[in-house]
Symmetry: C2
Subunit: 396 residues, 2 copies
């Protein structure tokens, strides 16, 4: 199918007088989400109560939602499930990976999202003799030494948007006998990631960024089919049990991806995710990726044509970039406050990064041209004219 | 304050033509919840997007909601936080407890909710030399041998409603040098549990049962103040970090209960919890406990006056019972189907338990009298008259 971006744009609630370039942090509200959530609360919980678990499909939803996300990341059907938070899913994947190798080094990079590193630290704090080793992102391939058991990376750097070469690194890891755990937080709905094609062992991600499922939306986990029935679920909750309602005393892992379920699914959050995926169901990720690359290139050109004070922090080659554009700017914190005050919403990441998310489902080239004008105007004029920013600069 | 149960009853959406005795599994919808959730989706997410994290208070909510739950379980302010699922919170408490003792036996009982046992199994599968030991519920005190490092119990048995003597067992554990982890799934909003008075080390619970926060509502965790700044957060997610938005590479546990936060809070579920707690804020737990005991006694008497085929599975002494009444009945599965078909919603737990939740916030003595009439009528007449139940009995 050819993706109709005019249609997708109409599916979202725009913020009045705002160009929203922060969909890589929290996606906009899909128009159908409010009604979907209201239906779940009022018509399902309110009229079915306990029977909603079956009658309204609450119990089955995590698998169905998982499959719809799976299509967007190249997963085989029946190998993705939603639930919990991304940090928990990172832990779950890592814990399973530790049981698949005797090696005790987990390799990651300093560009990884800190919570992934924290969760790895927490996991190995319970284990004997493990090491979490981090190297610079461009040093990962050569750091794949024979002692590395697990490679844990985030495909797209949350600050710069730099993509790892997921296919090459996964292949190199396999050659090295290393299990891969990929975080797709900034990839799902953003890039043409394909977990099946690259043969990743585990992948995890969240749904509140590019997937637009709302604040606190659940995470997802993918387990490669070759591990699906053997992966060890250290977070062995009852809904991952082979027969949750038999209430057996002993745990017996469920079949396939079901074993990665833990506790009761977040039914109301899942309703918002369901509405968000109704838009994604009409989208071809190849189209989204092509649009993202074109829009990002356009935005970089429009900004750079107007100011030379910003230094591109993202790769200039769109193929090596996720769906965001970041600039270094020494006064980035103050500048982003000023830009937001002028109606262009991006965000700041320490120490000096101004970050702008590119979400083709609801952002157009015209939006980005206008955003570039405002950003340049702030950088070239406003920032120096307004006393409040000068004061802020003086104290930060 | 004196609790006004006529007022509380009006705060819930009754199911038409149903006497709902399953609030111990999933509480009814508070009338304000739909509007509160809609506000969060439409007015907050829809108009604030990313800025809702601060402007709408999404980030602060887990602590505020935690304190409101804390009042209901006797916790000191600032020592309860909500998030994740109960299974995850059990794991988190157990993992922290393993770092507080060198002993490697976790004691629990065969009446514990299976997921608690499963999560303990999952945790110790990562550790060396640990044992999960289960004994019959009435054998717990004498099983507190010197090798027991952690005592993990659910205060109220999910099948029978039998309460443990939490004060005595916690005291006995302390005397034995054993850390306590209490699951309050069937206690919060149900009994006069007081974690501070009994000096529990850890307590966890869920909010979708008696607290009425809806399907998939988050869990909570309490950490005793004496451990608050030292408890080891093995699930060390970024929102438990001392400075989550500094994005440091290394984990540093947050102060006090904040360290038990993990990932992004479930904002929409939290909105429903907020509305549910608006009712609880007007309630004195002593009144609820007194009403629960009186209603339960009344229900037992009304049932037993009408049929002698049901055998009370719950303690007859209300002081030893949570807020549910369970009966053994050999044909319990079929009987519960028939009872539900007659508009009395309880549930069945294998092998032979018919379980009825007593929720004084929205259930009255008249409801229970009518429910007893229907139950007795089913047991004494319907069950044997209807071919479909006879068929079901024949095959199960």
């Amino acid at each position: 199918m050819a993706t109709d971006f005019e249609w997708t744009r109409q599916q979202f609630t725009a913020l009045p007088d705002v160009i929203y370039l922060d969909g890589n942090s929290l996606g906009l509200l899909p128009k159908q989400a409010a009604a979907r959530v209201a239906r779940t609360v009022t018509d399902e919980w309110g009229t079915m109560a306990i029977s909603g678990w079956n009658r309204a499909g609450w119990m089955a939803a995590p698998r169905q939602l998982g499959d719809r996300i799976g299509r967007l990341i190249g997963a085989e059907p029946d190998h993705v499930v939603v639930g919990d938070t991304l940090s928990i899913k990172v832990y779950q994947a890592l814990a399973a990976a530790t049981r698949m190798t005797d090696r005790k080094v987990i390799l990651s990079d300093t560009g990884n999202f800190p919570s992934d590193l924290y969760m790895a630290e927490g996991l190995i704090s319970l284990l004997d003799g493990y090491e979490l080793r981090t190297v610079a992102p461009d040093q990962v391939a050569q750091a794949l030494t024979p002692d590395v058991g697990i490679l844990m990376l985030t495909e797209v750097d949350y600050r710069t948007g730099r993509r790892h070469d997921m296919a090459a690194l996964t292949q190199a890891a396999q050659t090295n006998g290393t299990i891969t755990v990929w975080d797709l937080a900034h990839s799902a709905g953003a890039t043409d990631v394909n977990v099946s094609a690259v043969d990743a062992d585990f992948a995890v991600g969240c749904t509140y960024k590019f997937l637009n499922a709302g604040p606190g939306a659940p995470a997802f986990i993918y387990v490669n089919p070759r591990h699906a029935d053997t992966a060890h679920p250290a977070l062995s909750g009852w809904l991952g049990h082979k027969a949750p309602f038999a209430f057996d005393q002993a745990y017996a892992a469920g079949d396939g991806i079901d074993r990665m379920r833990v506790g009761t699914p977040p039914v109301i959050q899942n309703a918002a995710l369901d509405a968000a995926l109704d838009v994604w169901d009409q989208v071809d990720m190849a189209d989204v990726r092509a649009a993202s690359m074109a829009l990002s290139d356009h935005f970089i050109a429009e900004v750079e044509a107007r100011t030379n004070q910003l230094t591109l922090a993202s790769p200039r080659d769109a193929a090596q970039r996720g769906s965001q554009v970041s600039f270094h700017f020494a006064e980035g914190y103050a500048a982003m406050q000023a830009v937001i005050a002028r109606g262009v919403v991006g965000d700041f990441r320490a120490p000096d990064i101004m970050r702008f998310g590119i979400t083709p489902l609801y952002i157009t080239a015209d939006d980005l041209t206008r955003a570039a004008e405002i950003i340049a105007d702030v950088i070239e004029h406003d920032l120096w004219d307004r006393p409040e920013y000068q004061i802020r600069n003086a104290v930060t």
